[in-house]
């Protein structure tokens, strides 16, 4: 089997539809199969990563602990757009996981490097 690099794109805010969790589950499963996985957070998806989320009262599963645990699965290539950070007045220091902030053109070049892209 050929090596396949996988990019997963998140596009939704926290506590929205199930696509965030479904995408995260793909990340964990593929990592277990030794597929190198990178994550790209676009638009509202950046909002999932804000530090200090206290969601117990919502009675909804919070994905933040899973995001924090990704490094243990060797998933440490997380990307987001500088322009999205600016839009939400955030910096990478406001986020709970280490992410690389890139420009739109860097994103386009980044996507070229992957064999498979899943964008739920």
């Amino acid at each position: 089997m050929a090596d396949k690099k996988l990019l997963l794109i998140f596009r939704n805010p926290p506590f929205s539809d199930s696509s965030n969790k479904d995408t995260l589950d793909i990340a964990l499963a593929c990592s277990a199969f030794d597929i190198p996985v990178s994550l790209l957070f676009l638009h509202d998806a950046v909002l999932q990563l804000i530090k200090g989320q206290q969601s117990q009262a919502l009675q909804q599963k919070n994905l933040i602990n899973t995001f924090k645990a990704l490094a243990m699965y060797d998933i440490d290539q997380l990307f987001l757009l500088e322009s999205d950070l600016r839009r939400f007045a955030l910096s990478t220091a406001d986020l709970t996981v280490n992410c690389q902030a890139i420009s739109e053109s860097e994103m386009a070049t980044l996507i070229r490097q992957f064999d498979t892209v899943i964008n739920l």
Binding site: M1, S18, D22, D25, A29, A32, F33, I35, T116, L120
Partner: protein, 130 residues
Amino acid sequence: MIISLLIYASQNSGQAEQTALRFTRSALAQGHKIHRVFFYGETVSGISSLKVIPRDEIDITGQWLDLAESDDLDLVVCIAAAVRRGVLDQQECDRHNRVAANLVAGFNLSGLGQLADAILSSDRLLTFGN
């Protein structure tokens, strides 16, 4: 070429599953191999033998089965997505002590590892969603 499909759509909105089905038929007709069709997310709700389709509507699940029979398709339903939506095979029905198994015969419940395998084993992965 070896192609796998990931279907992430509700049967009640949009036409993603119909597009995927036509894509699959066309790919098979051109001599490509469909390694696997992986049903994920809300799609799996429709793969229930308890559902009753109005007589003037198309049974898309039945069409997948026809294709599976004629072309030996591997139709895999994500087990986690299915169980949480009440789509169970006999084994899951027994395990969770539920009243009935309702997964449509011809589809198989399995884990996301089957999607990972599809990625590794296929030249192309196409996602159809809504």
